[in-house]
Symmetry: C2
Subunit: 448 residues, 2 copies
């Protein structure tokens, strides 16, 4: 983030020196993405000062780059009028992004102050459910009837004034149904008198307004698209989704997977106020407490063995811990494989035998090492052997649990990423304590 | 992946029925991304049969979509001549992607059989280090001198025949230095007699051939780009990187972060042969064994206390387990925050106090619950209190460790994602066992 750091320093200096005119010049030359990066670093009063020095055009673009909670705080400190003036310059899908992060009353007040036509467009978008193509799409695009020539299509583009953001020219029939598209370079190089119908690509991937945004992202990635059209149930063209929006969706999805695997809600930001995440964090910590008590109750079954031979208590967490890394490694690879679409039902058996092989071989290697350490430490051959065997068994349990639990969750349409270590290591904790303490108890008369 | 499933079924039926002609028709109409999806599901001999029914154009596109190990196996079962014929139809950056996954000898043999000009282009790309912009870029683009008119620029595009993949027209000066670009829609809507210089955007984001691919991805995301030009040290234009390549980089990066947090190498695929991942898996499992032995040695210090009161062994893993979820949650949010650029030094203090607050509050809640459970189970007030206090202390340790270790790794330019649970939970395991068993030992005379 060097751009932000450098710019932040320059802007802090100008703010401290009260050199607002020079500051306005610096801001005018900066990219909105960089300005929003700087705003994130500033105190609220300085955020407001910087914001007021931006042109309305740039102010809108900066708002579009900011996220809750900073966006909400900043807008709360500004006049509704100046915010609505900035929003008027923005594409309606970006206004919708901003407005949806605000409290309902504030959102309505802003929309009332905006230009009527723009506000209506925004309201239409806001009616689509969050996470769908309808909510993500931009209603600005160029569509021409299939009967026109290339020259007429170019006329259309000239009038549409959609700016540099529009990519494809879409072709529609008499009923506004999507029947093809033309990439700009093909349009440029075609003879102006050519009927557009003859140069269109007919086979156009599209989604409906209800399509889940993850499915949109998957299609855009799979077919290397730059833009995907959004249609209604009758294939009438309503909007387009650009690859830049898809990049944002993919980033959110990756955050969700990473956080869920780590036992966090999936949309937590480092700067979220602690109170707002308290419940979500607590839930996973309580679930973990429950699984820990379950594991403890297994140990409780063998309390008298531990009383006879306290050394058992020293080694038992090792077996559980190794089961933990085994399940975590396996489940991580499987969960990511599911997300990438590599983990199909036809490869399940291959993956399971891979994990069992790895569990057996790395288990044997680790079992030998820990048996040797235990023998060197305590000098008890049988105890060392029991420890080694329990460890190998637990690594095999880890292979099965780590592979099958994410798959089972997927089958039941639950996000496999919630197969976080909290849940799956319960199995290896319980099995590990049980096999080690159980074997030791069975052979107790030889151990004492 | 419904497209693949449906297509796979249809293709399996045609393969079984030996209806190769009909199969060729079905394949000709399918998207290469879908065909490669099908190939992944088939046995090797069927992969070869399907591949031989593709047109050379499509065969090349399918190869570009496949990854190791399937790519390597399939190419190993084909004639070099048929592979090179398919590669001849592909853009040189995609040929480089395929060739780099093959063993060196096989790669050289293929390049020898390819058209000389294409093979040379590929070899130039392969000389750039993996993971740099040079390796990622496509050498196909349209560049025009700054002195031409819009009409002449369009002539250039017509001659360049770069296909639908080219987006921007780049403007270069007399020395081939990049001095701007024009988006296609601006070109379409401009008067043909306009000098191109007057409609260009001068402020063009570019990268050099040595720029790390993660930096390329960051810039493309930050500035919502569709394509970014790649220049040499003298700003001479050498190639362009499209957003589709950036999507692939981002997917690889997310995989790396997710896997490293789970104690896996970072580039493992569910289908990798077990032998090829054995060492990487084993290393983390051995590190985990080392940390588990360290934790066990702390328990060893208190062996005589456990001998006196075996109930301690029942509860001690609960304290460690709760420290584990605490550090994992915190580190997950912090590591993701670093990857997204939200976790800057200016917010460190705010994040640390958030985590300490969460550690204290959720710790107190969990401490009360576990103290109540322990009292109900064993009926010992003091032991229950010690357990609760040790748990709160460990949650505070978790907050500090989970926040500071990823940051420290980042400062030392080590990937924060390797702060996987394996490493960081060592701290809470050790602290948990030490505080619980230590407090119990100090107060032992009141416990017995």
């Amino acid at each position: 983030m060097e751009e932000t750091t450098r710019l932040t320093e320059a802007i802090r200096e100008l703010l401290d020196g009260g050199r607002d005119e020079r500051l306005a010049d610096v801001l005018a030359e900066a990219h909105p993405a960089d300005v929003s990066g700087v705003i994130r670093e500033l105190a609220l009063e300085d955020q407001v000062r910087v914001f007021r020095l931006l042109t309305p055009q740039q102010a809108g673009a900066v708002l579009a780059e900011l996220d809750d909670p900073i966006l909400r705080e900043l807008i709360g400190s500004l006049d509704e009028a100046e915010v609505s003036r900035a929003l008027d310059r923005m594409p309606s899908d970006e206004v919708a992004d901003v407005v949806q992060e605000l409290p309902k009353e504030q959102a309505e007040e802003l929309l009332d102050l905006m230009e009527e036509e723009k506000a209506e467009e925004v309201q239409v978008l806001l009616e689509y459910r969050e996470g769908t193509a309808g909510r993500l799409m931009s209603p600005d695009f160029v569509a021409v009837p299939e009967t026109v020539t290339v020259a007429r299509a170019i006329e259309h583009i000239r009038k549409a004034k959609t700016g540099d953001g529009a990519f494809y020219v879409y072709i529609v029939d008499d009923h506004d149904h999507l029947v093809g598209f033309v990439p700009p370079h093909r349009l440029i190089t075609a003879d102006p008198a050519t009927p557009i119908r003859t140069i269109r690509t007919e086979d156009v991937e599209s989604v409906t307004v209800d399509t889940d945004q993850e499915e949109v992202a998957r299609l855009v990635q799979r077919y290397n698209l730059i833009q995907i059209p959004v249609v209604d149930a009758n294939r009438r063209l309503l909007g387009t989704i650009g690859v830049d929006d898809v990049l944002k969706v993919l980033r959110e999805e990756a955050t969700e997977d990473i956080q869920r695997l780590g036992g966090v809600a999936g949309d937590e930001n480092v700067l979220d106020p602690p109170r707002s995440v308290f419940t979500k964090r607590l839930i996973w910590r309580l679930i973990n407490l429950g699984t820990a008590v379950l594991a403890a109750s297994v140990i409780g079954l063998f309390e008298s063995s531990i009383h006879s031979l306290a050394t058992l208590a020293v080694f038992m967490p090792i077996v559980a811990s190794m089961g933990g890394i085994g399940t975590t490694q396996t489940a991580t690879v499987v969960v990511r494989g599911i997300a990438l679409g590599d983990m199909t039902s036809s490869v399940l058996r291959r993956v399971l035998s891979k994990e069992l092989w790895l569990g057996l071989t790395t288990g044997a290697a680790n079992g030998l090492v820990i048996a040797a350490i235990a023998y060197a430490w305590k000098g008890q051959v049988l105890l060392s052997l029991i420890l080694g065997v329990a460890l190998v068994l637990n690594m095999l349990v880890a292979a099965v649990v780590g592979t099958l639990i994410p798959i089972a969750l997927k089958v039941f349409r639950i996000d496999p990423a919630i197969a976080s270590s909290v849940i799956i290591t319960t199995f290896t904790d319980v099995c590990g304590f049980f096999s080690f303490l159980g074997l030791a108890t069975l052979l107790m008369k030889f151990l004492l």
